[in-house]
Structures are given as C-alpha cells and as structure tokens.
Symmetry: D2
Subunit: 422 residues, 4 copies
C-alpha cells in the first residue's frame, strides 16, 4: 500500500504538541467497522490496537450501534449527572445480573466520572478515607493515569516529570518477576511492613494491574496475585485491582483477576465497559467500604447515559453465557502459536513474547526494533503500538471479536513487518 | 402534580452512597427535549439546571442530534485516542474559524481527556512546567474538580476532606467582593508578591472562574478581572481562566472573559462544548506555552469523536453570527426582572440576587430556605439546584435556547415555590 | 580606629561560603566582657547585637561565669541527654519558682534540643499531634528557624529557597499593621476560617512572634495579640508564641507576651535562656497538651547541663525581683529618645523607628542605607546588624545589662554612622 | 547496691512526659569523671553508654577541662554566631592539620547549628540544591534526627508518627544484610534507578550510617559501603555519610568510613566532636559542592566557642598520632571476646553479637530480654541502653578512653545482669 501524506495542517498548526498517536500513524481516519479502520483516502487498516483496549467488541459494533441509535432517536436522557434514569437502571440491573451475581462479587458501584483516571482517583480517595492513611503502594512500571493522584502511582519517569510537583505518598514495589526470579516474591515488601524501623509509611492500599499493559505486557502469575491478596489481608491494606485495560474480557474472563480466584477490595473499570468506545468508568468496592458521603466525590459526566445503553447491550450480547471467554482464549492460543513461530524463526533477534487472553507482547533484544516493527506494520496496513518504559515491546491488542481469519492476516502482516526490519 | 415514589431499588441497593442528585430529585428520568425532561411515569419537568451547565443548547438538540445520528449511521470513527480523524479536523477547523479567529485569540488546542477536571489537571501541569514552580493561587469558593490536582485548588472543605491527604501547593486569595468591599482589590495578594519576606511561595499561575458557579454564583466584575490579568502579567504568573461552567455562551459571549477584554494565558473548556452533553474538554493556551512533549499528558477518551461531531454542529449552528449572545442577554434580563420582583415582594425574607447572562443566584437570609425552595420547585415540576458553601443559594441555569415562554413559566414556578416556603 | 585586615585565611579557605556575620565584621574576635568585645588586634567593640539576642546579660557575665566554673571544676555532669541531674533539678525548680509561679503560668517544660529551631520543631509536632491537623498559620516576615519544619513557617524567600523542596502545610497571614491599617485586624483570617468554602486547610495552630526580630523589628500591639489569642480560642487553634528572641526580658517582662495579658498554649524559649550564650532551649506548653509519649521526640544535647547551671544563676540573679524589667524599660526610653532625635535631625532621610523594651529598629527611605550605617558603625567600633526582608532596618539589640553610659556612647556612635552616610 | 527512690518530684510534676532516659535510670546524677558517674546519693555507675556516643573521651576529661576553664577564665568569646574568632580559627586549623590533611579529605567545613539534626538538615538541603531534586534515599532502620527533614529519612515508625504530617521525599532501601543475604546487594536499588518505568523519583542523594547505632548496631561491611559509593557515583547521586554517632573514633579510625576507603560527598559530624559533651556539629562536603549563598542556612548557636576550645584540645591530645585508633581496636577485641564467652555460656538464650571498634550490640532471641538486662545492669551500677526497632539489642558504647580494667569490670557486670534474667 502506498501512503500519500495526508493533509495534517490543522493538526500541526492548531493542536498542541502533546498529540502523539497521530505522529506514528500519519493518516486521517474516517470510518471503522469491527477490526478495520479506513482513512479518508480509502486505505484500510487492520486494528491490533483496539483503542488501547477500549474497543474489545470492535469498532461500531452493530448490536451496540442499533441500541445507541434507538436511544438517541427516542430522545433518551443524554446527560444526567447522577440523576436516576431508566438507562442507568438498566445498566445497573444488567451489571448485577450478568456480571456481579454469577461471580458472587459483593460490590457496590460508583460512577466516578467517565475516564479511567477518574476511577483511580476515586479508588485512592476511598482507600485513604477508609484506612485513615495517606500512603499507597504501587508497582514498578504501573500505569494508572495522568491526573495527580493517579500519576503519583504511575511508574513512567517521563510522565511523572509532567506533574511539575514532586509526586509523593506512593512507594513502588517490584512487580512479579521484576528481579528475574532472583528474589522471593514479596520478601522486601513484607519485611518493610513487619519491621517497625523500616521507614515505610504504612500503606492504606496496594494498587495493581494483573497484566501491565502500558508497562510492557508484564503478566502477573495467579499465585503472585493470590500472595499479594493474602499479604494485603494480613497487613490490613486494601487491594485495588486496576482493571481498566485488562478487564471487560481482555484476558478471557470478564475481570482479569478471576483466574487467580481473588476478590479485590476495590476494582476500577473503564475503557471497554461501554463497549462502543464511549467514555464511562466504574469504581467497584465491597459494600462495607462504601463510606462515601453523598456528593463527596462528583463529576459532570459521571452519568453518560448513551454509554450506559451500549454497556448494557454489550453485557447482554456477550456476557450472558461463557462464549466470549472461550472465544478470547482460543484467539489467544492462535496468537501465541504465531509468536512462537515468529520468535523461533528470528531466533537471532533475541525475541521473546508473553501474554494472556488477547493481550500479548513481543520484545526484541534491541529495544529500537519494536518501534521499527510498528512503523513497518503501519505501512503494511496494520495498527500496532509499542509499550514498556523504553517502548521496547510490540503490543498486540486486537478486538476480542476479531475473526480467526482477520487475526491470522494481522499476524502474518506482523511477521512481514518483523522480517522487514532484519 | 402528585409524585408516586419511583422504584429506586437498584439505585439504593447497588449504587454507592456517593450518589447525590438522585436524592433531591426522586424520579427516574427517561426522555428529554429542549428545556424539558420526562420521567418514567410521564411527569414533565422544566429544566433550570441544564446538566450543571452542560446542556446550554438544551436536551437532545435536534440539529446536533441529526449530525450525531448521521455520523453513527455511517460508521464514523467513535474512539480515536489522539489519532487524526476527519471529525476531529472538522472540529478544529470550525473552532478556529468560528471561535478563535474572530476573537483574535492566539490559542493552541489540547484535548486532555473528556472531563473538566482532566482539563484543569492539564492546565496546572503545563503552568508548573512552563514556570518551574509548584505553587498555584486559587480563590475562595473556587470549584475546579475532584481529582487531586484540581481538588487542591478547590475551596469546599467537605470536598477537600475527601482527598484523604493534605492538599498542598495551593493558596487561596479573596475572590471579588469576598471581604464586602472593605479591602482594596488585590491589596493582600500584591503585598505578598512584592514582599520577599511574606512567606508566599511564588505562584506559577492563578486559576479563576469569572463567575463562581458551585461557589454560590459569585460574579467577578470586569475591572477586577482586568486588574487580576494585569497583576499576573506584572508578577510573572500565568492566568488560567476555568471557563468550564461559564464558557460556551453561558454569560452571553462564547468565553465568559470576553466582556472584560482580557486574554488569559490558559483556558479550560468543557461541559457544553460538545453541545449535546457528551464528554469533551479542551485546554487552550497561548502558542508560546506549548512546551509539551508528545504524549507527556494523555488519556484514553481524549478523542471522543461523536462529541467532536456535535461540537462542530453546535458551533456552526449557534456561533457563526452574534444571535446567540443577544438571545442569552435578553433572556438574562427577563430573569433579572423576575428576581427583582420576587425579592421586592418577599422583602422580609432578606432575599438578594446576582448573575450574568443566563446564570443567576438567589440567596435568602436563612440559608436553609434555598434547599426548601428547590424541593418545592421539584414538586411543582421545576429542576433547580443550590450552590454555595452552605447550599444557601438557589442557582438558575436554564438552557440558553429556552424560549421566553418557558423561561417565564419557570420563573413563575420559582415564585410559587418561594411563596410556599414563607 | 584603623582596622588592619585580619588574617582570615583559614576562614576563607576552609569554612563554607555559607558563613555570613564574619563578612560584615572583618575582625577576629578574641575576648568579651559585658557589652564589649575585643579582637585579636586589641580593638574594642561596643555590642548592640548581643548574639542576636542570646546575650541579654552581656558577654561572660561574672555571676554566671562563677557558677559555670564552679560547676566544671567540681566535675558536675556535663552531658546528660534527658537523665535526671542535680543541675537540671535546680533549673526546673528555679524556673518554676521565679518564672512560672509568680506569673501563674500553667506550663510543663520540655527540653527539645538546645537550639531555637529544635524548640519550634517540637512545638509544631505537638500542635499537630494534639489537633490531628497538618496546617499551621504563620505571619508575614516571620522567622522561626532553618530546619524544614521551622523553615516552612518562616517568611524569607531566600531562606525558604534553601530548602530544596516545596515548603507546604503553612499559610501566611498578615502581621499587625502589615497592610498599613487599611484592613481591619484578622478580617481575612477570620473570614477564611468561618467560610466552609474558603479553601484554607483548618490550622492546628498559629505561630507568632510578638516582635519580629529578623523580619524588621515589627511590633505587634497588645490588642492585636489579644485579638489573635481570642481568635485561636474561638476557632479551636493552638496559639504558639515563639519567644526565642523576644523572651528572657528583651521587651521588659520575662516573656514578651505578658504585656498583652495573654497565655499562649505553647511557648518556645531559647537564645538568652542559658544567660551565658550556651545552647539551650525550652518548649513550654499547657499541661493538658502534654500528650507526648516517652521519647517520641528526643535529641542528643537536650540536657546541656552547664547551660542549666548558668540559666539557674541568671534567673536567681536577675529575675527574683522586678528590677530587671524596670531597668530594661528605662534603657528603652533612652534609646527611643535618641532615635527620635536622630530621625528629627535627619528628617530628609525619611527615617523612622519602632521598638519595645530594648529591641529597636531604625528604617530609612532608602533600604540600602541600613547596611551602610552598619558598615560605618563597625568602623567606629559598634556592632549593629540589619534586619527585614531587604536588610532595610538597622536593629538595635544591646545587652539588657548595658549601662546608661555605654548605651549613650553607642547611640552617639550610631548617630555619627548615620551622619557619615548622608 | 541498694537504690533509694530519689526525689524525682519536680521532674515528674514539671517536665514533659516526653522525658525518657530518666525513666529507665531512676537516679539523680550529680558528678562524673571518665567512665564513671555518681548520683546525689553517692552511688557510682560505670558508663557503657557515653552520652549516646557524645562522650568518647569520657566525662569531664581533664585535658579538655583545663582548656575549657582557661578559656572561660580569660573571657574568651562564648557566643559568636558565625563571627570569626580566635577559638574558631584554632579549631579550623587543627581540624585541617590533624584530621583532613593526613587523610587527604577535600572537605569544606560548615557549622550548621550545634546538634546532629541541624547537620543532617543542612546536608539534605545542600544535596537538594546541588542536584535540583527533592528525593533522598535512606536505609531501613536509619536514625538521623527529629526535625522534619531528618525525621523523613529516619526509619522508626514511632518517631515518624510524631511528625504529625506525612513524611515524604524519602524512600527506604535495604541496609546491608537486611534481607539476610537472600538478595544480591543493591539489586533492587539499582534496578529502580536504571528502569525509567520504576516509579522511583530520582534521588538527589543517599544518606547512610556505616553502623546503625539507634537501629540496632547494624554493621555495614566495607565492601557494601564501597559498592554503595560506586552506585552513587555511577547514578549521579551524592553520598552522605551520617557519622554523628560512629565518627570521632568510635569505630577505630576518626571517620567510620575510612576503613572502607571511600570518600563521601557530604559527612555529618556531631556528638563527640567537641569532646566534652558540649553541643557542636559539622557538615563537611567536597569543595565543589559549596554552592551555599552567605547566610542561606544559619543558626544562633552555630559558633559555640567553648566547644571549639574543647574540640581543638581533643584533636590535639588524641588524634595527632595513631594511638587512639589502636587503643580503641584493642578494647574492641576485649569486648568481642567477652561477648563471645557470654553468648557461648548462655547458648540457649539464642544470643548473638556484632560490632566494630567500641560499639557492640548483644541481641537475644526474646526481644524483651534486652530491656531486662539493662534494668538489672543499672541495679548493679552499670549504664547500658537498648537499641533497635523493638529495643531488642543491648548496646555497648563505653568511652573510648576507658581502661582495660574498667571495661573488664563492666563486661563482668553485664554477664551478671544477663545471668540474672535467665
């Protein structure tokens, strides 16, 4: 495919230098359906990026689209702050019936504002309020958001520097396998907690991603997560699972922590919860933690009713039975086999891969190769982004609803892109 | 009207105690059009609340609705992070042509995430980065948002306490008329700045609302704003106007600071910018302040393309000429006359009013009366909320597109509600 | 007198650039007695500086000297942490009998470490512990010390910048007459406290100097102090008087706050408490505030026993009757008359003066003149330092035990120094 | 010996509850000489405590006493802020000639105030200023002082809680052997530094004690210290050695870091530097770090001239040749043999010991035994304190000038005290 430089002028002249994705993908996108986007010149792109995990059901999923248009057509409430609406009630009931009850999860639901960082801010505030302590433990290479509360528990030095103030009240601990298995899990963390002279301010909570998406597709083992949950329980710290990127089925089950059999105290959900790419986020927590006063945390768009509508439709269409999880795991195996073949073939690149469900990372010995591969993939019509502190990992994040054929096509394109960088 | 207690069960059993509006308005809303909402029992409500300023063009405005449905029908990009899209380009070009150029405003546009607090966080980060200082000056009774950066410059003690950590790096200064005219404007602030022994950490920026909506409809005079802008310029501080609630025409002009003839360094916009109640926010700043590195601030929903579509349609429909501003000011006069009559009639209640454009506040000698009035108004089919640190002010915030007849109806209902509390 | 440049080599080559007094007074001092110092070249200097308030009884006061040598000779305990010693008991009993009981002051005594900043740190920690709040209110141009806790409540921007971290948890309020009488006392402070939307974090305590020594000899009126004490009581904040420089008789009475008739909750004392210039400090607080756990605050030199010995001797010699206060006030009048004459004579210099007891400030219209006057005074054999944020005030701080003749001599030298700068 | 309860009344009625040592040693001490104290009832106590390391040359050392009395007798300057004095010059020259030059140490000397915490505060301020970063790394079980800057890098949870504010800008790392040799030295610390996604705010400096006195007599190996110095150099962090308790010969050499062959960037010295128990402290740093502005850090008692006099006498008497170090190491071996015998004899107590020079710790399997041993030792006329986060270690810290016979006597008393607790 030949890419004609698009007319980017207003983006370059008017939009802030902070813009980023549009730099790596110099196209002006116009339409999208399922796993494919089309730019204004008619070029088609296969999407292994899925809105950074916000489009698990694909672009403009027809089932959700129908529900959304119907709602808009009939003048359903669009903006409702936290007023009670029929759309919100339908969502709450469906979320309870389809998600919480079958999993026996004892959560209350809070709408903290429609973005992931809103949910993380609410989770941290609640944990601090419940425990009466300021300190939060996060993990190396964590990513939780860009507002000051979330940024303080995010690892990336470049993003942290953007705060303009020293980020405090957080302490990083080693994520699973961070020290290459040379140190027993939680040895350091538990020692700090048990020693009254350690200098660690006692944490209110621990916040963790089960798979670190932005941090480089680092997958925590189920036993590590169980040990963490146990540590939190024994040491009187709340466990917050940030399931914003890995929830909503990305790893197979609806919540990414289900596999480990743990029940976090607080869970943040966003990205694919609306199903259609509309802003929505949830903060879930055990009932006994619901110590909020009315209005103690609020936000203008916390009741994004069109998102309730598509979220409800997505839950009903995809989660009423176990097909979604099976499908995702099957597609994951397909990815794994392709990555195995790719790493075997290009053995001298020192490539390795890891992942769970439909989130996979491909890392090379030379960190710069990941960006090259993504650039070549774009030229070949495949959207792929990098992750990791040095952008050293190619991240595969296709829609969960991708067909085996599309997935195969994308994996073959990836193989060509890798070959082109050798 | 008789209100039958609605079936609120799932809200009460599943939604967090943090919910608030649904408590004061015990109805389950279903549909809305223009200035009216309808609940599931068919009761109709006139809206003097407008989504806390997010629905300046009314509910489900037909012009915007048409554009939105067309876009969804044709599978336009829904979720795009900060990829270039045709919808985003149309918005940027329209915003430049309809808003920035005619006002000679030298701003770059940043999409910091779709909520107001995202925009405020981005503004504060940028100001700190540009000036290399941590401290921000805000004003008494300011409201800027619930994430930690925004909350630190918000005045409300109840909301601040929710942070669970000490909120630092901010210092409050007296808003216009805070000390009842007993002190020259900025006497204290300027003295602190000029005195090398004052103990004030030199601020990177000052953040201000031209009219404090949540703080009690406190209206800053144009000359006070000009003096503030002058002080910022002389003392090397950036001026941030938070126009989230008062922008998009609420006070008449598109930006609320236009009347004062000032050009802030940074402006935050959200709420009504999408026009349809969809989450969207902008952070505008002078070109020379655009020192962001690519991706230094990001966010999953910063490119909410359906919102770009309705925002573009709103700008084209309402701001291509000066009719909107004239209409708003005329409706404002209608409100003012009604409030004058009301205060005159109920002189012994010690009522007073203030406002600009279509944002007005009605305060009583007895702070508790404001909540009573809103409760009676709800029973009479009118949505009104309170504001101010003690919820002591009835806040009138109808859609800008309200008809004179609807406005008159609402004002008469308000008068009945006041009379009912005497 | 002709000053031969002294051999300063080791000071210049080995001592840090942070040294300061030795720059303005380029002499190597060797001996001292009463109000006079002698340098190694035999030049004599009259002392209107008194160790920045640490030598209220003059240099090497013979009564104290005798007690000190006797104690050392007999091998009394020198270093004792906070062990019980006979020297400490004598001090405690004398302090109780001579100072606390006659004034009916309900204080417990804490030895927080031997410097003023140790005492301030202890006072702030205790106030925060008692009230469970972090925030402290201090005043413009306050000076409380150089360690991080004290520095955060100190006004001087140059010294604050030395912290290397943002100084937080403190908010400055206007000291008495800071706004030239244009604003009612405490209007702003009280408004912030009563308004739940002001944005002021509720303070645990207020820390104040009755006369700001480093800040420019700013004298708080007795009624201002009383109003402050009343405000603290009404608003549930502890009142801390930092009497490190102004206590021990500097303003006449032993404590500088006695004149106002207030009883602060916490008082810090240091500088002249040992009487001999030996490091010692006290933190006094009402008995009900004594919520310290044993050892919760400690310090190696908190029991400086030789200082207990001289402190006890000073209290017995000077404070068993009311002569000291009378003497100080009489000498103060002598200073005041001289300053009046001086300001009258040099009317065109725009000079003004203020003070209490034996602490006085002389300010000129041209801030640079103060340093010139001190430099000329040094050449004429008089030690005088400047104070104020721009070093714009000549500070007169002679020993309280100075004779009328010495005082007169110094005042005449000052007049010559002023004349020499015209 | 029978202890009659002393008349503690004024201590109990007037002194704050914060007092601590006087609780464990219920005697009123009166005189002291060398390694012995005498209480007011004539009881004699052998001192294995030495003013927590402030009395390395014993109580009221006759050589220093003579110099001190002579100085006082001849009216030498007592209090001099940072004026140049002959006493200060003598100290600086002697410190340069006897300590710095023979060791080829490139340090400037700063007098930051007379206590250890003043020195630590100055060191941290300087490091932050030089590097332009806020963060400091300290170690588990570190003790650096009680003012807010020092407390933030101190490990003890009880003392940290006394701050009343969250202590931030510091991160603890594992001290040598903290994880029982299960983890390679600095694996975690270096990984955090090299990983741009680790979440560690880049430190300005690392502060370390070579032997943690308050932390439980934890001895860092020379190779660990060398690896730390190397890490600091490679990662652009300043290395601060807090030698307040372990310097001045306590471990043998004058500075405790000499054995490791490292040259820290900044060194804090206090406690025994005056030799006589008088308050004095130094902050030493490499010349190129001397970026202080004149007066940027100050303090009333930073020029404690009597302490200069005794410090000079101590350096001349004890450090002009290598005898002091040899003596200390010989006495250390005497202690080690006794502890070996003691631990062997009482094998079933699970006792272990560690130390260097003349600082030793004796730990029991049962943490409570340490306090019992100290209590019995006091009854037997021996002063011993505990250390460690649970006060689980008996700390042996006799004067360096103790005779072999006195040391033997004390060790035998210790053995009796241990036996008495079995």
């Amino acid at each position: 495919m030949t890419i004609t430089p698009p007319a980017l002028s207003v983006f370059e002249s008017l939009e802030s230098e902070v813009r980023s994705y549009c730099r790596g993908w110099p196209a002006v996108f116009d339409r999208a359906q399922g796993a494919r986007l089309t730019d204004e010149d008619g070029h088609s792109y296969l999407d292994f990026f899925a809105g950074a995990g916000s489009l698990n059901y694909g672009h403009n999923n027809p089932v959700l689209k129908r529900a959304l248009i119907d709602y808009i057509e009939r003048d359903g409430i669009t903006h409702g702050l936290d007023m009670a609406t029929t759309a919100k009630r339908a969502f709450l009931e469906t979320f309870q019936n389809v998600i919480l009850r079958p999993r026996d999860l004892p959560y209350k639901v809070m709408f903290p504002g429609p973005t992931g960082t809103n949910a993380v801010e609410a989770a941290l505030k609640l944990a601090r309020k419940v425990k009466g302590r300021e300190s939060i433990v996060s993990f190396t290479n964590a990513f939780h958001g860009m507002s000051l509360g979330s940024l303080a528990v995010t690892g990336n030095a470049f993003k942290r520097a953007g705060a303009g103030i020293p980020l405090v009240h957080g302490t990083p601990m080693p994520f699973d396998n961070y020290l290459d298995g040379r140190v027993p899990d939680f040895l350091w963390f538990e020692r700090l907690l048990e020693d009254q002279g350690s200098g660690l301010n006692k944490p209110a909570a621990v916040i963790v991603e089960t798979v670190q998406g932005e941090g480089g597709i680092n997958v925590a083992r189920a036993e590590w997560l169980r040990a963490l949950a146990d540590l939190c329980r024994r040491r009187d710290m709340l466990l917050i699972v940030d399931d914003i990127q890995m929830g909503c089925g990305r790893t197979g089950a609806f919540f990414s922590f289900e596999e480990a059999g743990i029940v976090p105290d607080i869970v943040t959900v966003s990205k694919s919860i609306s199903g259609y790419g509309l802003p929505l986020s949830l903060c879930l927590f055990k009932g006994e933690l619901d110590v909020w006063e009315p209005g103690e945390h609020n936000g203008t768009f916390r009741g994004n009713n069109p998102a309730f509508v598509t979220a409800t439709a997505a839950l009903e269409a995809y989660w009423a039975d176990g097909q979604m999880e099976k499908h995702t795991l099957a597609r994951g195996e397909q990815v794994e086999q392709a990555l195995l073949a790719l790493c075997t073939e290009h053995g001298r690149l020192g490539a390795s891969y890891r992942g769970r469900g439909l989130v996979w990372g491909l890392e090379f010995a030379d960190p710069a190769r990941a960006s090259e591969v993504c650039a070549r993939a774009f030229e070949l019509g495949l959207l792929l982004e990098t992750s990791g502190p040095q952008s050293e990992v190619v991240k595969l994040l296709p829609p969960l609803t991708i067909t085996p054929e599309e997935l195969d096509e994308g994996l073959r394109t990836l193989a060509r892109a890798v070959a082109a960088t050798v």
